[in-house]
C-alpha cells in the first residue's frame, strides 16, 4: 500500500471522530507550545539579565575588601584589611597599571534618612564618591551638576539626588538649590540624576550621592575605610589585564594570614558568564518540565490509538480478510498516530509563537528557532513512538478473531 493510501486512511480515521482527535492532539499541542514558550522565557530572562550587567559596563571591575564572598560585601571583621584612598592612588599609577582608566572610591552609608520639612524618606542607596563615579556607573544629571572636584576638595555640603528621592521630598517643585537633611546634616541639592528606572531588583533612581569627603566627614566617620573601589579598564578587551594589575598592586598590602588576597575583584564579564550559565541551567530546567507535558501528550495519543484499535477491530478483520498485509495495517495506524501528533505539533508551534509575544511574569520571551524545531520534532517522534504499540497490536490481530469481534 502506497504512502498516499496510508495517509488517506489515516486522515479518514482522524476525521471519523473529530472531538476525540481534537482532544488527543491538544495534548501534543500543549506540550509543544509549552516547550517553545518556556525556552523562550528562559532565554528572555537571560537576555534581560545580560543587558543589566552590560548596562553596568563590561569594562568595569569592582574591588571589595574581604575574601571571596561572591557578589556581596563581606561582614567586617578584624582579619580584614580595609581599602583606603591610599589604594585608590596606587591604582591610579599609570606606570603600574597602564590598563586602568579611572578609579572611583565608594563609601556606602547604611540606613540614612532624608527629610525636608515634613517629607521624609529612606533612600535605597546613599553613597559618597568622586566625580569619576558618573562615568563608571553611567550616571548623568537631568538638571544641575554632578559632584565636582571642587566639591570634593572643599568637603562641600552638597548632594545629588535620584529622581525618586526628588519626587518624594519635593513633589513637583524644583529641588536645585534647596536644602535637605540627611541624618540631621543639612545639604544643598545641586543636581538631579537622569532616571535609570529599575534593574529588576531595586529602584535605581532611589539614590543619594555625596562628595566622598563630605560623606566621610558627616556620615561614616573618618576611618578612611572604603566599601568599594570601582576600576574602569581602558577598553572591554583589557578588563582581564586591568584585573591582574590591580591584584598585583593591592596584594602586597592586603593579605590574609594565609597569604591569600584579602580583597575581592568582581569582574563584570565573568559575572556575565556566571549568570549566563545559571540562566542556561534555568532554561534547561524549564524545557525539561515542558518536555514532560509533551510525554504526557504522547501517552494520550497511545491511549486513544489503543481505544481506536479496539473499536475498529472488526474493520481490521475485514481489511485483513480481503488481503491487507500486516505492514498495511501497521502503516495505516502508525500514520494515524503520527498524523495526530503532526497536527498537534503544528497547532502547538502556532500557539507557542503567539504565546511568546506576551510578557510572562515580567519577562519578554525570546523565541529560539532550535526550540521550535526541537519541540515539533520531539512531538512527532513521541506520536510515532507511542503509536507503535497500538499499531502493532492492530497489525497482529488474527483475521478470524477480529471478524468475530462485536
Amino acid at each position: 500500500m502506497s504512502f498516499a493510501e496510508s495517509f488517506r486512511m489515516a486522515l479518514q480515521g482522524v476525521l471519523a471522530n473529530r472531538l476525540r482527535s481534537l482532544l488527543t492532539l491538544l495534548g501534543i499541542t500543549i506540550g509543544v507550545a509549552s516547550v517553545i514558550i518556556l525556552v523562550a522565557v528562559g532565554h528572555g530572562s537571560a537576555v534581560a539579565v545580560e543587558k543589566q550587567i552590560e548596562g553596568l559596563g563590561t569594562n568595569m571591575l569592582t574591588i571589595q575588601a574581604g575574601g571571596r564572598f561572591f557578589g556581596r560585601a563581606p561582614a567586617k571583621s578584624t582579619s580584614f584589611t580595609f581599602l583606603t584612598l591610599k589604594d585608590v592612588r596606587a591604582l591610579q599609577d599609570r606606570n603600574a597599571a597602564p590598563d586602568i582608566k579611572t578609579v572611583t572610591p565608594v563609601v556606602n552609608v547604611a540606613s540614612a534618612t532624608a527629610t525636608r520639612g515634613s517629607a521624609s524618606e529612606s533612600p535605597g542607596t546613599v553613597i559618597g564618591t568622586t566625580p569619576a563615579y558618573a562615568e563608571a556607573r553611567k550616571e548623568s544629571v537631568a538638571e544641575g551638576t554632578f559632584v565636582t572636584p571642587e566639591d570634593e576638595s572643599n568637603h562641600a555640603r552638597v548632594v545629588v539626588v535620584g529622581p525618586t528621592v526628588a519626587q518624594n521630598l519635593f513633589g513637583g517643585a524644583d529641588p536645585i538649590g534647596q536644602t535637605i537633611q540627611l541624618n540631621g546634616a543639612t545639604l544643598t541639592v545641586e543636581g538631579v540624576l537622569t532616571s535609570k528606572g529599575t534593574n529588576g531588583l531595586e529602584d535605581q533612581d532611589d539614590i543619594v550621592i555625596l562628595p566622598l569627603t563630605t560623606a566621610q566627614d558627616l556620615l561614616v566617620g573618618e576611618s578612611g575605610e572604603l566599601d568599594q573601589i570601582i576600576v574602569e579598564a581602558t577598553s572591554p578587551g583589557s578588563v582581564n589585564s586591568a584585573e591582574s594589575e590591580a591584584t598585583a598592586i593591592l596584594l602586597p598590602t592586603h593579605q590574609a594570614s594565609d597569604g591569600s588576597a584579602a580583597f575581592t575583584i568582581l569582574n563584570q564579564s565573568s559575572l556575565l558568564q556566571a549568570t549566563s550559565s545559571n540562566n542556561h541551567t534555568f532554561t534547561v530546567l524549564l524545557a525539561a518540565v515542558a518536555a514532560i507535558s509533551l510525554l504526557v501528550g504522547g501517552i494520550g495519543v497511545m491511549n486513544i490509538m489503543l481505544v481506536t484499535v479496539t473499536e475498529r477491530t472488526r474493520e481490521i478483520g475485514i481489511r485483513k480478510a480481503i488481503g491487507a498485509r500486516k505492514s498495511d495495517v501497521l502503516g495505516q495506524f502508525l500514520t494515524e498516530a503520527v498524523l495526530l501528533s503532526i497536527l498537534g505539533g503544528i497547532v502547538g508551534v502556532a500557539a507557542g509563537l503567539v504565546g511568546s509575544r506576551f510578557k510572562i511574569v515580567g519577562v519578554q520571551p525570546v523565541v529560539q528557532a532550535y526550540a521550535v524545531f526541537l519541540a515539533f520534532g520531539v512531538g512527532v517522534a513521541v506520536g510515532l513512538f507511542f503509536g507503535i504499540y497500538p499499531a502493532n497490536r492492530a497489525a497482529s490481530l488474527r483475521p478470524i478473531e477480529a471478524l468475530r469481534y462485536e
Binding site: 472488526r314 475485514i318 480478510a321 480481503i322 498485509r325 498495511d328
Partner: protein, 255 residues
C-alpha cells in the same frame, strides 16, 4: 463432471481436520474432510449449526489453517504459506462474502469496493474504473457515493459481492450470504451468484437454507465435522426462483 472432461481442480481438500484445544477438552470441528472443486462449479456446502461449516469456510478462505491434512488452492499448499503470502492469496485468489456484509462503515461504496485493489497497489484511475464495473455488475452503479448505512441490507450484500469480484479472484466464497436478508433481497443476491457462475466464475456458498442450496449445481452436506453427502443437482439449477426475483433484472446483469 458432465462430459467427462477432466479439469485441473481449483480447490483440493485432502483429509482436512481441525481440532480446537487439546487433550480432554479437544473439539474436533472437522474430521478428515475430502473433496475437490473444479473451476466453473457452483457448490453449496450445507449443514446445521455446529456441523463445522464456519471452520471449513475459514480454512477454504485462507483465514485459518487446518490442524492436519492438506488444502491446495490452484495447486498451492496453503499450509506452507506464511502470513505475508496468505495475505496475497486472500487478496488475489479469493473473494469473500460474509453473512453480515462486513463493509467498512462511514466509507463510500466506491472506496469499499476498490479496497482489495488498494492493497494490490493498483493505481487510482484503474481502481476507480474496475470498482465501477463491479458495482454495475451487481446493479449498484448509481450508488457508488453512498455509505453502507444509506443502503438496504440487500444492497449492502450486493456491494460486498462487488468487492469480492473486483480482484477477479479464482473463487468467490460466501458464508451464509443470505442469512441476514429478506426473501426479496435473497432472490436478488442469489440471482447475482447465478449470473456470475454462468459467466464462468467458481462459487462456493455455505448455507443452511435449502432454498439457497437449491440454486447450486452441487451440494455437499456436513454433519459433526464430517462429510455426509456430495450430490450433483439433478434438475436445472435456478428453476425454483420466485416471481419476485424474476422481476429484479439489473441492466448490467443482462448484458
Amino acid at each position: 463432471m458432465a462430459g467427462g472432461v477432466a479439469r485441473r481442480p481449483l480447490m483440493v481438500l485432502d483429509r482436512v481436520s481441525k481440532i480446537y484445544g487439546s487433550g480432554e477438552i479437544a473439539v474436533h470441528a472437522l474430521r478428515g474432510i475430502d473433496f475437490r472443486v473444479e473451476g466453473g462449479d457452483f457448490v453449496a456446502i450445507m449443514g446445521s449449526s455446529g456441523s463445522g461449516k464456519s471452520t471449513l469456510m475459514n480454512i477454504v478462505g485462507c483465514l485459518d489453517v487446518p490442524t492436519t491434512g492438506r488444502y491446495l488452492l490452484e495447486g498451492i499448499d496453503v499450509m506452507l504459506l506464511d502470513d505475508f503470502e496468505l495475505s496475497f492469496i486472500r487478496n488475489r485468489k479469493i473473494g469473500l462474502v460474509f453473512q453480515s456484509f462486513n463493509l467498512i462503515p462511514r466509507t463510500a461504496l466506491q472506496r469499499n469496493i476498490e479496497l482489495p485493489l488498494v492493497y494490490q497497489r493498483v493505481g487510482r484511475v484503474e481502481r476507480r474504473a474496475r470498482a465501477r464495473e463491479a458495482a454495475e455488475l451487481v446493479g449498484l452503479g448509481d450508488r457508488l457515493h453512498h455509505t453502507p448505512a444509506e443502503l438496504s441490507g440487500g444492497q449492502q450484500q450486493r456491494a460486498a459481492i462487488a468487492r469480492a469480484i473486483v480482484t477477479d479472484p479464482a473463487i468467490v466464497l460466501a458464508d451464509e450470504p443470505t442469512g441476514n436478508l429478506d426473501s426479496v433481497s435473497t432472490g436478488e443476491v442469489l440471482d447475482i451468484f447465478r449470473k456470475l457462475n454462468a459467466a464462468g466464475r467458481t462459487i462456493v456458498i455455505i448455507t443452511h437454507e435449502h432454498d439457497v442450496a437449491a440454486q447450486a449445481k452441487r451440494v455437499i452436506r456436513l454433519a459433526d465435522g464430517a462429510l455426509v453427502s456430495d450430490e450433483r443437482a439433478t434438475r436445472e439449477p435456478g428453476s425454483s426462483t420466485t416471481n419476485q426475483v424474476r422481476e429484479f433484472r439489473p441492466a448490467a446483469l443482462d448484458r
